[in-house]
C-alpha cells in the first residue's frame, strides 16, 4: 500500500518535472539538469579516488578555501577596477594554493596534517568573508556556500564540460599510477612511479573539480556529491572501476531526482539534492549492515 502510494506520488512528481523540462520558458531547468549530468562525470570519477584514498576532509578544505579567492577577486573588481578578473580565476588560484600547501605538509613537513587542513579551511573562509564585507554593494556569501544550480547558463555548462573532459582524460591516462600510489605508494616508487607527483596530480584534479563546480552549485553541494555517491558505491564495489562507474551513475541520479523533487515540491535545489544523497547513503549503509556483505 505504502509502496503504491509512493509510486503514484513519484509518478505525479516526475510527470510534472518531465513536462517542465520540455517547456520552452523553463530553459534554466534544462541547464541545471545538463550541468548535473555533465558534472556527475568528474565528480563521480575524482570522488572515487578522494573517498578510496580517504582524503574527503582535504577536498572539503580545498572547497572552503576557494571562498578566499572568490572574495579577493570580487574586491579587486569593485575597488581596484580589475574587471577583467573572473571569480573563477580567484577560486582556481586559492584551490591550487591550498592543494599545494596540503601536499607539502603531507609529503614533507612534520606538522600535524589534520590541523593544517583545518587551518586552511577556516583561513580561506575568513579571508573570503573579509573581502566580501569590504566590497561595495551587496554580495551574499550564502550564494557561494550553497550556490544556485538554477542560475547556470549555457557558457557555464561549456566550461564545466571542458574542464570535466580534461579531468577524465587525465584520469584515463594516469589511473593505473594513481591507484598504485593510493594503495601502496612505497611499492609504486620502487616500480619507478613518481609517487609524490602522482599524489599532487590527484590533489590538482580534486581542486579543478571543486573550482569548476563550486562557483555554479556551491561549496556544500560539491562536497556532498564528491563524497556521498562514492561512499555508497564503495559498499558493494569489488574494484575501483566498479566504484567509479557506480559513483557517476549515482551522482547523475541524485542530480536528476533531486532537481525533480525540488521543482515539484518547491524546495531549494541544492539542499534537495544533498538530502536525497544523504538519505540514500544512510539507507544503503543500513541495508548493507542488515544484509551483510
Amino acid at each position: 500500500m505504502t509502496m503504491s502510494i509512493s509510486i503514484v506520488m513519484e509518478d505525479i512528481i516526475m510527470t510534472d518535472f518531465f513536462q517542465a523540462l520540455s517547456d520552452p520558458d523553463l530553459g534554466f531547468l534544462r541547464n541545471a539538469l545538463l550541468l548535473g549530468l555533465i558534472g556527475s562525470i568528474p565528480l563521480g570519477a575524482v570522488g572515487t579516488f578522494v573517498v578510496a584514498r580517504r582524503i574527503s576532509y582535504l577536498a572539503a578544505a580545498i572547497a572552503h578555501s576557494v571562498l578566499g579567492g572568490i572574495g579577493a577577486v570580487l574586491y579587486a573588481r569593485e575597488v581596484l577596477g580589475w574587471t577583467w578578473l573572473h571569480p573563477l580565476l580567484g577560486a582556481l588560484l586559492a584551490a591550487l594554493l591550498s592543494a599545494g600547501v596540503i601536499a607539502w605538509v603531507s609529503l614533507r613537513s612534520k606538522q600535524r596534517e589534520d590541523a593544517v587542513i583545518g587551518a586552511i579551511w577556516v583561513t580561506g573562509m575568513a579571508i573570503g568573508l573579509l573581502f566580501i564585507a569590504r566590497t561595495p554593494g551587496y554580495v551574499d556569501p550564502m550564494a557561494y556556500l550553497f550556490g544556485d544550480i538554477l542560475l547556470v547558463t549555457r557558457s557555464d555548462i561549456w566550461i564545466a564540460g571542458g574542464v570535466g573532459a580534461f579531468i577524465v582524460a587525465m584520469l584515463l591516462l594516469w589511473h593505473r599510477q594513481i591507484i598504485a600510489v593510493c594503495f601502496d605508494s612505497e611499492f609504486a616508487s620502487i616500480r619507478g612511479v613518481h609517487a609524490d607527483g602522482i599524489y599532487i596530480l590527484l590533489l590538482i584534479l580534486t581542486a579543478l573539480t571543486v573550482v569548476t563546480l563550486v562557483s555554479l552549485v556551491g561549496i556544500v553541494l560539491v562536497i556532498a556529491l564528491l563524497t556521498l555517491p562514492p561512499a555508497i558505491a564503495s559498499l558493494r564495489a569489488r574494484s575501483l572501476g566498479q566504484m567509479l562507474l557506480a559513483s557517476v551513475v549515482l551522482t547523475a541520479g541524485f542530480a536528476f531526482f533531486g532537481l525533480g523533487l525540488s521543482f515539484s515540491l518547491d524546495f531549494p535545489t541544492g539542499p534537495s539534492i544533498i538530502l536525497l544523497a544523504a538519505i540514500v547513503y544512510l539507507l544503503a549503509n543500513a541495508g548493507h549492515r542488515l544484509l551483510g556483505r
Binding site: 591516462l173 593505473r176 594503495f183 609504486a188 619507478g192
Partner: protein
Amino acid sequence: MIDSAHSDCSCQAHSGEPVVCFEGVSFSYGRNLVIEDADFDIYKGESICVVGPNGGGKSTLLKLMLGLLTPNQGQIRLFGQTAKRGRARVGYVPQQIEFDPLFPVTALDVALMGRLQRRSLGFVNRADRAAAFGALEKMGLSDQAKQPFASLSGGQRQAVLIARALVAKAELLLLDEPTAHVDVAAEERLMASLKALGAELTIITVSHDLAFVSRSVPKVVCVNGCVHVHPTIELTEARIRELYGHEVRMVQHDHEHLDSHGGHHHD
C-alpha cells in the same frame, strides 16, 4: 652491540657479482645512528633472513637496499648498479598491516601493479593481464583473481603481494615480516611456494620468528645498529641473547615443516 663483520667478496664460495653489496654503509635519522658501517654481500640464489630487535635497523636496512633511503656513508650496489637503478629487478613484499582494508581492489588489480613502469599510461594490455594471472596461478590463487583483496585470508593476501612482486620479473625478492599475520599452515604453504620458485631467485626475508628463521634459511643477517652476517647454525641461544639484549624463546611448531634445504621433516 655486535661487531660489524666484513665479508669480503673474495672470501665467499660464490662466483660473479653479488646481487646486494653493502660497502661501509652508515645511516642515521638525525643524530640517531641506526646502521653503522655495514659491509656484506648477498649472492644469486641465496635465501637469507634479517633478524634483530625492534628499532635495531631491520626496516632501515631494507629501505636502504631499495634506495628509499640514502646512506650517510658508504655505498650500496644492487646487481652492480646504484640501488635506485637496480631496484627495477627487485620484488618488494611489504607488511600487510600497512594496507587500507577498505581500498577496493581485486587480487588481480594488486598483481597488475607489479607490471607498472614509470611511463605506464592508459589501460593494461593483454600481456600485463596474462603475466598477472600467471603469477597468481604460480602462488595457487588463480580462483581468487577476481576476489576483493580485503576479502582474502592473511596467507592469501601475502601470496597476492608475492605474486605482485614476481610479476615484475623480480630476481631478488625482499619480504618484510611475511609470516607476521598468517597462521602456521599458511606460513608453510607460503614458504613451499617460495621454494618452488626456483634456485635462480635470491630471497631476503625480515622476520621476528626465530623458529621460522632457524628452519627456513641457511644464513642470517643480524642487525642491531651493526650488521653481522653468518650461518644460521651459529644463531645459538647465547648469540640471540647478545643480539636482542635479553632472553628470546624459540617456539617450535609441533608439526611437519620445511627445513632449510626445501625438504620435509618433523619436530
